[in-house]
C-alpha cells in the first residue's frame, strides 16, 4: 500500500507554498557532522516510534508483573522476602526479572531515561518543524500560475458572463461567507485570490507536543519539590507530627466507617485537626473523595485499623508513655497486626502485636495484646500477653493495655507539579481542538477576463495528507458557482485516483 497515497501525489503538481525542503545536505565542516547527526537522529520520527514501543513494552511488563510497593523497595530485607514470595509465582524467572528491575519498573533510572529521551525527541521534532510550519502559515503565495489550477488535486473552472471586477467581487464574497480569510492580487486582466481558513490550526501541533513535555516537567517538579507519605497513621485522640520538613502536626479526633447492609463499605471518615508550630490552623473531615488541603499539602483517606491504647509507668509510678499505638503493620511471621513505639529515656523499643483477625489466634487470644520489648536489636524481656486493663511488668516497667481504639491511615502528599499537569492537560485539549476541529483549508482562485468581456474563474485546492477535502471543495465550488450565476458541473472531479 505504501505506494497508494504517496505515489498518487508524487505525480501531482508541485506543492504551492511551504513545502520546504528539509535537511538539504550541504557540505559541512567535520565537527558539525557529529552534532548534526545526533540532531538528525533525535529529530527522527523513527526514534519516537522506537521509544514509544519500548515504553509500551516496559509498561506492559510493569502491568503484567507484580510490582513491589515502595515501602518494600526501601527496605532490603523486606524486598528479599517479597522476592521469595514472588518466586512462588515466577519461579526461575524471578532472578531475571529482578536483575532487569522489572519488579520496580516505574521507578528505575532507565525507565526515566527513556521518558526523558522521548521528551527530548519531541522537543527536537517540534523545533525542526517550527520553520516549515511558520512558513506555510504566514508566507503564502497569493497568485498561482495556471499550471497549478490544471494539476491541483481538487480543481474546477467556472465561466460567467459577468465582467472581471464583478466576478472577482462575487467570488470574494462567496468565500468570505464560508469563513475564508482572503488575500487579493489584482493585475491587468486578472484577479488572483488566496483564501485561507483556520490558518493557525497547525500551531495546535506545538501545543499538544509542548503539553507532553510540560507533563513530564510536572512529574519532575513533583518529584523534586514534593513529598509523599502514603502511610501516615494517627490514632484516635493522638497528635502526631507530620515530619517531612514541616512543622505540622495532625490530631485525629474521630474515625468512622460505615457499611451498606449487604457488606460493601459506604464511607470512611476521619475528623482531623492540623497544627502548625503548635497553633491550630485547620480543622476538617477527610473522606475518600474529599481530601483536606492545607498549604499545598493534601491529606487523603487511605486506610484504617486497630489501635492499642497503651500506658507505661516506671517504678515510681510515673507515666512515661500513654498513647494509642496503631497496629498498622504486619508481623513477618504469623501475619499479625503490629505497631511500635520508642521509650527514648529507657532506650527501649516496644512492639505491640494484636491477634490475627478473622480467626482464633492460638498465640494471642482475642482481647489481649502481646508486648515485646527490645533494647537495640536484642530482647530486653520475655514477650508477654496482656489482658485489657491488667498491668504486666516487662524490663522494669509496668505496661497496661488500656483499651482498643482505631487509627486512620492517611496519604499525605505535597505535589507542586500538579498544577503544571493541569495546565499541560488544558493545553493538550486546546491543541487537539485546533488540529482536528479547526483544520486549515487553503484555496486559490484565478479570475481571468476573456476577450468577449466574460470571466473565467479557476479554483484549485491542494491535497492534504490527513483527510480528503472532496466535501469541502464541493461546497466551496457550488457556492462560488451560485454566486456567479453559473452551473457548477463544468468540471467534475477526477474519480478514484486517491485509491490504491
Amino acid at each position: 500500500m505504501a505506494k497508494s497515497a504517496d505515489g498518487a501525489r508524487a505525480q501531482g503538481p508541485p506543492f504551492p507554498a511551504g513545502s520546504v525542503a528539509r535537511g538539504a545536505s550541504r557540505p559541512r565542516p567535520a565537527e558539525f557532522d557529529l552534532i548534526s547527526r545526533v540532531w538528525k537522529s533525535l529529530s527522527s520520527m523513527r526514534l519516537a516510534l522506537v521509544l514509544i514501543l519500548a515504553l509500551a513494552a516496559v509498561v506492559l511488563a510493569g502491568t503484567l508483573l507484580d510490582q513491589a510497593p515502595p515501602s518494600v523497595i526501601a527496605d532490603q530485607a523486606a524486598y528479599d522476602q517479597w522476592l521469595e514470595r514472588a518466586r512462588g509465582r515466577y519461579g526461575g524467572w524471578t532472578v531475571v526479572f529482578d536483575r532487569l528491575q522489572l519488579f520496580n519498573v516505574f521507578h528505575t533510572l532507565w525507565f526515566r531515561a527513556l521518558i526523558a529521551l522521548l521528551a527530548l525527541n519531541i522537543v527536537v521534532c517540534s523545533l525542526n518543524r517550527w520553520h516549515g510550519i511558520w512558513t506555510t502559515v504566514f508566507h503564502t503565495r497569493v497568485r498561482m500560475g495556471e499550471p497549478f489550477f490544471q494539476h491541483a488535486r481538487f480543481r474546477a473552472t467556472v465561466a460567467t458572463t459577468m465582467p472581471l471586477d464583478d466576478a472577482a467581487d462575487r467570488v470574494r464574497r462567496a468565500l468570505s461567507g464560508s469563513r475564508y480569510h482572503l488575500k487579493t492580487d489584482a493585475a491587468e486582466g486578472s484577479v488572483a485570490l488566496f483564501a485561507d481558513k483556520n490558518r493557525l490550526s497547525r500551531f495546535g501541533t506545538f501545543f499538544t507536543h509542548l503539553s507532553i513535555v510540560l507533563l513530564l516537567a510536572g512529574t519532575v517538579v513533583g518529584g523534586v519539590w514534593g513529598f509523599k507519605d502514603p502511610e501516615f497513621v494517627v490514632s484516635e485522640g493522638s497528635t502526631r507530627p507530620l515530619g517531612l520538613g514541616t512543622n505540622i502536626s495532625v490530631r485525629l479526633d474521630h474515625f468512622a466507617d460505615e457499611y451498606y447492609l449487604d457488606g460493601p463499605p459506604k464511607d470512611f471518615r476521619s475528623d482531623v485537626v492540623l497544627f502548625e508550630n503548635g497553633k491550630q490552623v485547620k480543622q476538617g473531615t477527610v473522606q475518600v473523595n474529599s481530601p483536606l488541603r492545607y498549604k499545598g499539602i493534601a491529606f487523603h483517606q487511605a486506610f484504617y485499623g486497630q489501635t492499642a491504647v497503651m500506658k507505661v509507668q516506671d517504678k515510681t509510678g510515673k507515666v512515661v508513655f500513654n498513647d494509642g499505638v496503631p497496629l498498622a503493620w504486619q508481623t513477618r511471621e504469623g501475619q499479625r497486626p503490629v505497631g511500635s513505639f520508642n521509650l527514648p529515656e529507657q532506650n527501649l523499643s516496644v512492639y505491640v502485636v494484636g491477634p490475627r483477625s478473622g480467626e482464633t489466634d492460638p498465640m494471642i487470644p482475642a482481647g489481649e495484646m502481646r508486648v515485646e520489648v527490645y533494647r537495640q536489636e536484642s530482647r530486653a524481656a520475655a514477650p508477654q500477653n496482656l489482658t485489657q486493663g491488667k498491668p504486666g511488668d516487662l524490663a522494669g516497667l509496668t505496661f497496661t493495655f488500656e483499651r482498643e481504639s482505631r487509627f486512620a491511615g492517611l496519604k499525605v502528599v505535597k505535589d507542586p507539579g500538579t498544577s503544571i499537569i493541569w495546565v499541560a492537560s488544558a493545553l493538550m485539549v486546546l491543541g487537539m481542538v485546533m488540529l482536528f476541529y479547526l483544520p486549515r483549508r487553503r484555496l486559490w482562485a484565478l479570475c481571468k477576463a476573456q476577450p468577449d468581456g466574460t470571466t473565467t474563474v479557476l479554483l484549485g485546492m491542494p491535497a492534504q495528507r490527513d483527510t480528503t477535502l472532496a466535501g469541502d471543495f464541493d461546497s466551496v465550488r457550488s457556492k462560488v458557482a451560485r454566486a456567479l450565476g453559473a452551473d457548477d458541473t463544468s468540471n467534475p472531479l477526477p474519480e478514484g485516483d486517491d485509491d490504491a
Binding site: K266, S425, A470, S475
Partner: protein, 286 residues
Amino acid sequence: MLDLSHYAFVAAMFALAGAFLLYMVSAVAGRTVHGLSLAGGPAAVTASDDRPVSGRYATILTVNAFVFLTASLTFRSIESGHGPFSNMYEFSLAFSWGALALYLYFETRYHLRTLALVVVPVALGLLLYATTVPDGIDPLVPALQNSLLLTIHVAVAILAYGAFTVAFAAAVFYLIQRDNSLRWLPRKSVLDEIGYRSVIVGFPLLAVTIILGAVWAEIAWGSYWTWDPKETASLVTWLIYGGYLHARVMRGWRGQRSALLLIGGFGATLFTYYGNLFFGGLHSYG
C-alpha cells in the same frame, strides 16, 4: 424502575438483533452503497431512493435499539441515583450505547450502512455479555462516590470507545475491500476517511477521559497517576492511535498499514475496557 430498565434492555437486544439481520439482507441485496459523496452532499441524498427498503428498516431498528438502551440506562440512573457506570453490567450497556451512538452519527453523516455489519454485532455482543454478569444495582464504594466525575469520566470514555469501534469497522472493511472490486462495500478511500474521522473523534475524547481520570485520581487516591493497570492500558491505547495519526500526517500512511493499526488499537481498547477483569488494580469495581 429496575423492571422498566430491564424491559428496555431486552427490547434493545431484540431490536439490535433484528437490525443486524436487516443490515445483512441490505448488504447482500443492495450493493448500491458504494461511491457516495463523502461529505454527504446532494449526491448522497439522491442515492437514497434506490437503496433497498431493508436498509432503511435496519436503521430504524438501530435507532430504536439506541433509544431503548438510552431508556434502560436512564431508568437505572434514576433508580440508583448515579450514572450507570458502576459495574460490568452497566459498563457493557454503556459501551454498547456508545458504539451505537457513534455508528449512527457516521451513518447519518456518510449515508453508509455497511459499517453496521461490524458495529452492530459488537454492540449486540456487549449486550449478550451483559446478560451473563450480575445486573443488580451495586451501592457505590467510597472511591466511586463522586457523582460528577463518575458520570463525565466514564461517559466520555464510552464515546471514545464507540468512535474506536467505528474506526475498527472501517478498517475491517478496508482490508476486505480489494482494489475496490467488491461493489457491496464502500470505496477504500471512503473507508480510510471514515477510519480517520472516527479517530479524530475518539483520540481527543480518550485524552479527555485520561485527564478527567487523573483529576479524579488526584482527589480520591492522592496522586494523578499511579500506573494502575487501567491507566496504563488506556495510555497505551491512546499512544497507538497517536501513532496512527502521526504516521498519517508525517509519513502519509494510509490504507492497509493504517487499517492494521486501527484493528490493533481496537484490541487495546477492549483490553483497556475489560482489563480490570484480569488484573485487579484500583479500577477493579466490576
